[in-house]
């Protein structure tokens, strides 16, 4: 059996005396959708931050395509193909929707200053390529009409879609979404559901989500990882998790 795309082994994160993440392990196989759930304050975003390089883990290992990531800074991890979103949307609000997508493709752009200053054909072609790709994704997330609007003027649901488009335009292998359904109405959640499936099926992206919307989670996840107060609680398929006593206790409290 081929190795998992993402392997997290015994991840630990300490802030001074506080143990925010207590030996969490999880595997994500290529083509899977894995959800990370747990009560509020369980440390899910901290786990994300550790995996994606925004925090330096106190201990443990993170392997992506077999390569160790846990000592790398966030931007290098992103270049390896692991891209994430944030709980509070971090769009470039004063830049237009199109510009947001162009910036995201910075690593694929023609960055040679001389070629750009002289407006050489190679440079122009590359810029056009970036624009085309942006247009493609804007179309997919239904934001093409808003391409020239400032990102900050978009409605909440639209901003969320833009954030995902922005990630996809970097051609990631693993997409980590932090509460993508937060603040969305049922219809938008349904569309998100379809989008995620399409990302997996059509664009061959593997997904790791943090989510609170149980309907969404149970519906699309191949695997669910439950953590509580920083420590792992249970791992399994949706059906297994639903019937797991410990999980029920953690969410609903003792009888």
């Amino acid at each position: 059996m081929t190795q998992p795309l993402l392997q997290v082994k015994n991840l630990v994160m300490r802030f001074g005396g506080l143990m925010a993440v207590d030996h969490v392990s999880l595997d994500v196989n290529e083509g899977q959708i894995v959800s990370l759930i747990g009560p509020n304050g369980a440390g899910k975003t901290t786990v994300f931050n550790c995996i994606s390089g925004f925090y330096k883990p106190s201990d443990g290992e993170v392997l992506f395509k077999g390569k160790p990531m846990h000592k790398l800074p966030g931007h290098l991890i992103a270049r390896h193909g692991m891209v994430r979103t944030f709980q509070n949307i971090r769009l470039f609000k004063e830049m237009t929707v199109l510009e947001n997508l162009l910036v995201a493709q910075h690593m694929h752009a023609e960055r040679n200053l001389l070629k750009g200053l002289l407006n050489l054909p190679g440079y122009k072609a590359k810029e056009q390529e970036l624009e085309d790709k942006s247009a493609q994704w804007l179309e997919r997330v239904d934001l093409l009409d808003f391409a020239n609007r400032e990102a900050g003027t978009l409605a909440y649901g639209q901003q969320r879609r833009l954030e995902i488009a922005r990630c996809m335009v970097t051609q990631p292998t693993l997409l980590m979404l932090d509460e993508p359904a937060a603040g969305l109405n049922p219809q938008e959640t349904q569309e998100l559901d379809q989008l995620i499936m399409e990302l997996r099926d059509k664009y061959k992206v593997t997904l790791l989500l943090i989510e609170h919307d149980m309907k969404l989670v149970m519906g699309i996840s191949d695997q669910i990882v439950v953590i509580n107060q920083g420590a792992p609680l249970a791992t399994g398929t949706p059906t297994e998790i639903l019937s797991n006593q410990d999980v029920i206790k953690a969410y609903l409290g003792e009888e």
């Binding site: 802030f15 975003t45 931050n49 925004f54 925090y55 944030f86």
Partner: protein
Amino acid sequence: MVPTMNESISYFIQQVINGLTVGSTYALIAIGYTMVYGIIGMINFAHGEIYMIGTYITFIVIAGLTLLGIESLPFILITALIISMMVAGAYGFTIERVAYRPVRSSKRLIALISAIGMSIFLQNYMRLAQGSRDLAQPGIISGSWSLGTDEFSVNLAYMQLIIFVVTLICMILLTLFISRSRVGRACRACSQDAGMTNLLGINTNHMIAATFVIGAMLAAVAGVLLGLYYGVVNPMIGFIAGLKAFTAAVLGGIGSIPGAVLGGLILGTAETMTGAYFSAQYKDVVAFSLLCLILLFRPSGLLGKPEVEKI
């Protein structure tokens, strides 16, 4: 002539004493920086100018008292201290109210520029008020003790002792104030969580003003002490002193008052040592270099806690 062992040791100890003297005054100014940064997260660029004003007031008071025929040194010292502190406190209060409060909620750069503008304004204000040239008032409190034996002697100037004592008294009073008094506690609460403090009914604006006033008064004390020690003043002394004091505050850990003291002492000593053993011209370079080094390798300072960015 090669210095003897004793002479070398004496020289070294002398420099340490000199360094700690200057360092204590840096500490006094640094406290003002660290307190303001702790409570509103801003660098009070104009703080050095308060110190400068304190020095000018000292000279004015001394000259004025001399004119009135008063010669008693303790009286002169105490009066200079009190009046300087009052004036500096008033300036600190006004500066906060006029240049900082309106921009407190703006972007960092905006507040910084307002502060720089205030600093430039005060330098030139003083220049118009008292002229741009050096004004010298040497040797008010002169004389020193010679400690030790003939071979191994160190001078402790009276002024140096006064600096140590006054600084110590200020530290003690400040510590008592911060930890015991109502206002002091409120200031501390403010620096930890302004929003919550506000909700608890404490007027954070008043606390911030109090912080500025206290910091200004301490800077004024430094102005009095250094004015008497060096005996010279001009409108630009605040700039360099301010930078050095800020270095001290960062060195010790910005936001930490003991840190500011520690930073001040270390900086003063390092600077004096450089001047004594290397070259007097490079004293200032030492201060700036220390600043850069600290920020590069340990930005949280010696006594500060490393901050974790919340994402």
